[in-house]
């Protein structure tokens, strides 16, 4: 092995790396937020009484889960521009990630909804709550709290998957890495640095999600026990 490691060359690009990491984080958090909303909506559609809506949600979920994210990103990016909408890479990336993570979130939240015992629903019905009120107060909060660990993992995976958006030139961390390694020819060092950066960002994501859980779930904050 006559390869000498030189980390100083890629590290000199640290402002770019930082900008790329920031883009990754904002991309991930934006996608997380909207993906969560979409996921909850689809889970409700799937478990609701409107059959065509449930079936539509079912088809959407199966299609997304059985096709690669890379191809979905291409379809969204090129599809939007062929419809005449000029969107930047960041927006297209967000839309694609939202569509993707929405499907996975939906399945997880659906499992949470189905884990609520029927007796709770009966009790709520008997106090005269409407269906929407039941969903909002009796079904969704405990369902989401119960599946929050699975949902969190999904969003950390999303952050890692955001690297795929480098393929449509969104300037997130992997795209920056690709650029740096072609400038410096220090490929191994560049990607090792970036790997460490992703590990660090996973911790940041987990921290943010933990804080969200503490704020959103007062029972967990006060009792400290799982639901």
């Amino acid at each position: 092995m006559n390869y000498t490691f030189d980390f100083s060359a890629p590290l000199a690009y640290w402002p770019d790396l930082l900008a790329g990491a920031w883009t990754t984080l904002t991309l991930s958090l934006a996608s997380t937020f909207f993906g969560f909303l979409l996921g909850v909506f689809c889970a409700l559609a799937n478990t609701g009484n409107t059959r065509w809506l449930a079936r539509l949600a079912g088809v959407y979920i199966e299609v997304v889960r059985n096709t690669p994210l890379l191809v979905q990103v291409f379809i969204v990016y090129f599809g939007l521009s062929s419809m005449g909408l000029q969107v930047g890479a960041f927006t297209a990336a967000t839309v694609a990630l939202v569509v993707n993570v929405g499907a996975y979130t939906s399945e997880i939240v659906r499992a949470g909804i189905e884990s609520i015992p029927k007796s709770q629903l009966e009790a709520a019905e008997c106090t005269g709550l409407s269906r929407w009120q039941m969903l909002r107060h009796v079904v969704l909060p405990p369902a989401i709290e119960r599946v929050f660990p699975a949902v969190s993992s999904q969003y950390v995976l999303l952050m890692l998957a955001s690297s795929i958006c480098s393929q449509i030139s969104a300037e997130e961390l992997t795209a920056v890495a690709n650029r740096i390694q072609s400038d410096t020819f220090r490929s191994v060092e560049t990607y090792l640095i970036v790997a460490v950066a992703y590990l660090a960002m996973s911790l940041v994501m987990r921290g943010v999600l933990w804080a969200v859980a503490m704020i959103a779930f007062p029972r967990r904050r006060r009792l400290g026990t799982p639901l």
Binding site: M1, N2, Y3, E62, V63, R65, N66, T67, P68, L69, L70, V71, Q72, F74, I75, F78, G79, S82, L160, A161, S163, I164, S166, Q167, T174, A177, N178, Q181, S187, V188, Y191, L192, V194, A195, Y198, L199, S202
Partner: protein
């Protein structure tokens, strides 16, 4: 769709075959390594359990789009010149081994401890217990999630396009570069992936259902 002729479809179909081939390579390599990971974690001494835990966390915490170029550029730095296929197969195998290793470890550990105890009390040695009593039961438990994970493997092969390996996604990109109808082309590519993945997903769900029925 008049811009696409038979040659284009042939090219896409070739890409599909390479996708299947790379998936099988990744499953074989990742499966072998994953099996070692699972055993090292369930039955190894403390240091091997910790090493496996670190390995899994590292690999699972790194995007595949970073692992792939690390393999592609890293191997030449060790003096080995590799084709994109080899680098992709290696990177995917390592990626798969971390996930399959964790799945299989969970399955080994969910075989009731009393089974191991009963086998031990019949004077079976460690390797006889693992081979004849624990593993057959662990394999049954592991089949549904393993088939489910194969869907992930097929989807992840699409990323090998980033290091220049011509599988289905890259085939689509190449055709797009000459016909400039990306929306239609990638819809077709998506449909081809769906044709590969959906049957596996259905099979995995069916296996899981029958497994739970049998174990009630």
């Amino acid at each position: 769709m008049g811009f696409l002729n038979a040659a284009h479809f042939q090219f896409l179909f070739n890409g599909l075959l390479w996708t299947v081939g790379l998936s099988l390579l990744a499953f074989a390599g990742g499966g072998l390594l994953g099996f070692a990971v699972a055993l090292g974690s369930s039955y190894g001494p403390r240091w091997s359990r910790m090493a496996v835990s670190v390995y899994i966390k590292l690999i699972q915490g790194t995007p595949l789009l970073v692992l792939l170029p690390l393999a592609y550029f890293g191997l030449p730095s060790l003096g080995l010149n590799v084709a994109p296929l080899t680098a992709a197969a290696l990177a995917l195998s390592i990626y798969v081994s971390a996930y399959l290793g964790e799945i299989w470890r969970g399955c080994i550990e969910s075989v009731p401890r009393t089974q191991a105890e009963a086998a031990e009390c019949l004077a079976l040695r460690w390797h006889q217990r693992v081979w004849n009593v624990i593993l057959p039961q662990a394999v049954k438990i592991a089949t549904p999630p393993t088939v489910g994970f194969m869907v992930q493997i097929v989807k992840n092969t699409s990323l090998a396009s980033a290091i220049g390996f011509v599988e289905l996604a890259r085939a689509g990109q190449i055709i797009n570069n000459s016909t400039f109808e990306p929306f239609v082309i990638f819809l077709i590519v998506a449909a081809m992936y769906f044709a590969l993945c959906y049957p596996l997903s259905v099979l995995s769900r069916r296996l899981e259902r029958s497994f739970h029925v049998a174990h009630r």
